[in-house]
């Protein structure tokens, strides 16, 4: 039986176990004078039965699925004649893929050497056998687990404690999974980054001011030595993010203040969802809005006042990105401002403070940690945003602080580096990992700094 069928089957069994244990515990309780004579509610006995049924079976299933392939491969290789045994891992995987292709019917057995065809039939047999064994074992474990739980439905056994403990462990595993995934991603990025720095010195990467990642594919190619200086990219990222935050923070914060403190209920109940809709617009839509409307408009205006402006500019991308992240700032700030207790407002107003003084001196400081949180979230969106920049700010890695020129960002370069066919061990491709690593470090640093600031200046109101 396939894993895809086995999984729902185990869950069905768990539900059945739940129902049976539920009825069993009521039946046990009835002669004693009701469920209050049990140590735990029937729900807990039932849940425990379901857990006993499902969890061991799922663990067996996972272990089997995890090792099945390797074990079968080992056995299949062992059936090959001694003189055709693979000498290197590469050769082994070549032979194995040939065998599995034959077994899957993609390759006619007549076209391959006889020992391969033989191994293919062995593989086929083993796989179907494995399926059967697996199904049998998993179902056996599930039934045995449920049966064990059934025997443990007794008035003096406290199923509640078992269920709570098990649930706590399940939650822990879920949390651990998230942490491990993050750690895994970081680890793999670090590995690739180290490989990159074996080709390009870290000092060049960090301090060189030119970025041109085209490397020679052949030794005789000219004019593409590759320059991996990250400074223009980070300058571009910072420039665009700064413009975006310059738009988003004042607009978002002031609109949050208006909505939470001044607006009437009716205005608030319409304006807030509309503003949050901004966050739901796909970034590619913002992108063409920036490229087709805002950028030409900026160029025209710049020309009118006698400035030279590129048709793709950091300003266009930054402005539109700023609009995009307004809801992050305003929505979160609005929530934290509302969370400041009314008694704070009353206290200030009763002393003769005006509404704006109250806002500035009492509510804003109390809400500051949350507001900084919102701004940080917006900043990380801005730094990570790719599509708007690709469309509106271009790909040219200019080192400039002039917002009217075209610039590029770290994320855009990562995207363009990995688009299309790539050699996976060229400096060009590997540089994407180094960029990612650096970006990660920078955002991490930003977060740490912001946390420090928030801790230092927060005013706790409860």
């Amino acid at each position: 039986m396939q894993t895809a069928n086995l999984l729902p089957l185990v869950l069905v069994l768990a539900v059945v176990a739940y129902g049976l244990a539920y009825m069993r515990s009521r039946a046990v309780a009835a002669p004693l004078g009701g469920i209050r004579n049990l140590k735990a509610l029937p729900v807990y006995y039932a849940s425990r039965a379901a857990l006993w049924c499902a969890i061991p079976a799922l663990i067996v299933l996972a272990v089997w699925a995890g090792f099945e392939g390797k074990v079968i491969q080992g056995i299949v290789i062992a059936t090959l004649p001694q003189d055709t045994w693979p000498e290197s891992p590469g050769q082994a995987s070549l032979i194995l893929s040939q065998i599995s292709n034959v077994a899957a019917g993609n390759l006619n057995p007549e076209f391959v050497p006889e020992h391969i065809a033989g191994a293919a039939s062995v593989l086929e047999a083993m796989e179907s056998q494995s399926e059967n064994f697996k199904a049998a074992l998993v179902l056996l474990v599930a039934v045995a687990g449920a049966g064990f739980a059934w025997t443990r439905v007794a008035p003096h056994i406290n199923a509640r404690l078992n269920v709570e403990t098990t649930l706590r462990r399940i939650f822990f595993v879920c949390a651990a999974l998230a942490v491990l995934t993050t750690a895994g991603i970081v680890f793999s990025v670090i590995l690739e980054t180290v490989r990159f720095f074996n080709r390009v010195p870290i000092s060049e990467f960090l301090f060189s001011t030119s970025w041109s990642p085209q490397t020679a594919l052949r030794a005789d190619q000219v004019g593409s030595d590759g320059a991996f200086g990250v400074i223009p990219l980070f300058t571009g990222t910072l420039l665009i993010s700064a413009i975006a935050l310059l738009v988003a923070v004042p607009v978002g914060l002031l609109s949050a203040i208006y909505l939470s403190e001044y607006a009437s209920k009716r205005v608030r109940s319409t304006a807030k969802p509309v503003m949050e809709m901004l966050a739901g617009i796909p970034t590619v839509v913002y992108g063409f809005f920036a490229a087709l409307t805002v950028a030409p408009f900026i160029r025209d205006v710049a020309e009118m006042v006698g400035l030279q402006a590129s048709s793709q500019s950091a300003l266009a991308a930054g402005l539109v990105m700023g609009i995009m992240i307004v809801p992050f700032v305003s929505s979160l700030s609005d929530d934290v401002i509302n969370a400041v207790p009314q008694t704070m407002r009353d206290g200030s107003l009763a002393l003769g403070a005006t509404q704006s003084e109250t806002m500035k001196k009492v509510i804003f400081p109390a809400a500051l940690p949350g507001i900084i949180g919102g701004i940080l979230l917006a900043a990380s969106r801005a730094i990570g945003e790719t599509m708007i920049v690709v469309m509106a700010a271009g790909l040219a890695a200019n080192l400039t602080a002039n917002p009217l020129e075209s610039v590029t960002t770290v994320t855009v370069q990562i995207a363009t580096l990995l688009v299309g066919d790539q050699e996976f061990d060229s400096a060009k491709t590997l540089s994407a990992f180094a960029l990612g690593m650096l970006l990660f470090l920078v955002t991490l640093l930003l977060n740490v700094i912001a946390l420090k600031i928030v801790r230092k200046y927060r005013e706790q109101y409860e």
Binding site: K265, P341, T343, M344, A350, P365, Q460, Y461
Partner: protein, 296 residues
């Protein structure tokens, strides 16, 4: 002032139960409240607050029904009455704290030193600087003790120099009986203090802007008996220089701190009189029922 008859005092302990309004069997005709009619002595000579025919409604709900009352200069007056009788609402009219509630409408005449509190050109900021308020739950700002007291003087520009401000802060804390406890920790966060200290800090904060009137909305209901005693002592001391209006659920407190007591019932002002008179020989049957604990 503390001449409460012992049986009344004992029964008064049973207040705060929030019971329904019963119809006393003996004199049913007295329980009928005539709108706008208050027994006792609602008016005084040369009042600080002159309140005439005041009604307050939330939407179509009339919370205060045609109340007329004078609040004397440097007088301590307490408002008592069952929960929901409108005494807090009435109190909050006096410095227009009800303004922030959209549906709240105030009618009638409210004069502070013969100036209309609700005049359309009235400066609310100036009004609230003159009429301070202390709330039920201590609500110090999450700032340092010093900044809490200095808050009002700063927004009103009462101090030109740092030394002036220091002096105001010290004086206010002294008047609130908090200086000895707080002088070594002026820079620590006010929310770290005990509840009683926080409430006295809120009083100090109100005093710091030198108000003429201080409104107190159940200032001791969140405090333990010792802290309550301190705050009450403070109120007695402050009565020399301020007009104090205090809403309280504790009749002993009303008896201890106030010169006059006003009894509210379902939005009506039923009786106002000298405190000892209210507690020993109430004129109105409803007042008597309330203070003897027949309902709360």
């Amino acid at each position: 002032m503390n001449t409460m008859n012992p049986s009344i005092a004992a029964k008064a302990n049973m207040q705060d139960q929030g019971a329904e309004i019963p119809v006393p069997a003996d004199r049913p005709e007295d329980t009928i409240i005539e709108e706008g009619r208050t027994v006792g002595k609602p008016f005084v000579d040369d009042p600080k607050f002159k309140l005439r025919n005041v009604s307050v409604s939330y939407g179509s709900d009339r919370a205060i029904k045609d109340i007329s009352l004078d609040i004397g200069r440097n007088e301590v007056i307490s408002f008592i009455g069952p929960s929901g009788c409108g005494k807090s609402t009435f109190l909050r009219c006096l410095n227009r704290m009800n303004d922030s509630i959209d549906i709240c409408r105030v009618e009638g005449q409210l004069l502070l030193d013969d100036e209309d509190v609700y005049h359309s050109k009235r400066d609310v900021v100036e009004l609230r600087a003159r009429v301070g308020m202390v709330f039920q739950k201590p609500n110090p700002f999450p700032k340092s003790i010093y900044d809490n007291v200095a808050y009002g003087p700063r927004i009103h520009g009462l101090a030109n120099r740092k030394s002036d401000l220091d002096e105001i802060v010290e004086n206010s804390l002294r008047k609130a009986g908090l200086w000895e406890e707080a002088k070594d920790r002026l820079d620590s966060v006010a929310t770290g203090m005990s509840g009683g200290q926080q409430q006295r800090l809120c009083i100090a904060r109100a005093i710091a802007v030198s108000p003429e009137v201080i409104l107190m909305d159940e200032p001791c209901s969140a405090l333990d008996p010792i802290a309550t005693a301190k705050v009450e002592e403070l109120i007695s001391e402050m009565s020399e220089s301020y007009t104090i209006v205090i809403v309280t659920h504790s009749m002993q407190q009303a008896a201890r701190v106030s010169r006059r007591t006003a009894y509210f019932h379902l939005g009506h002002l039923v009786e106002v009189n000298e405190t000892d008179k209210v507690f020993t020989s109430p004129e109105h049957q409803l007042t008597e029922s309330y203070i003897t604990g027949r309902f709360g």
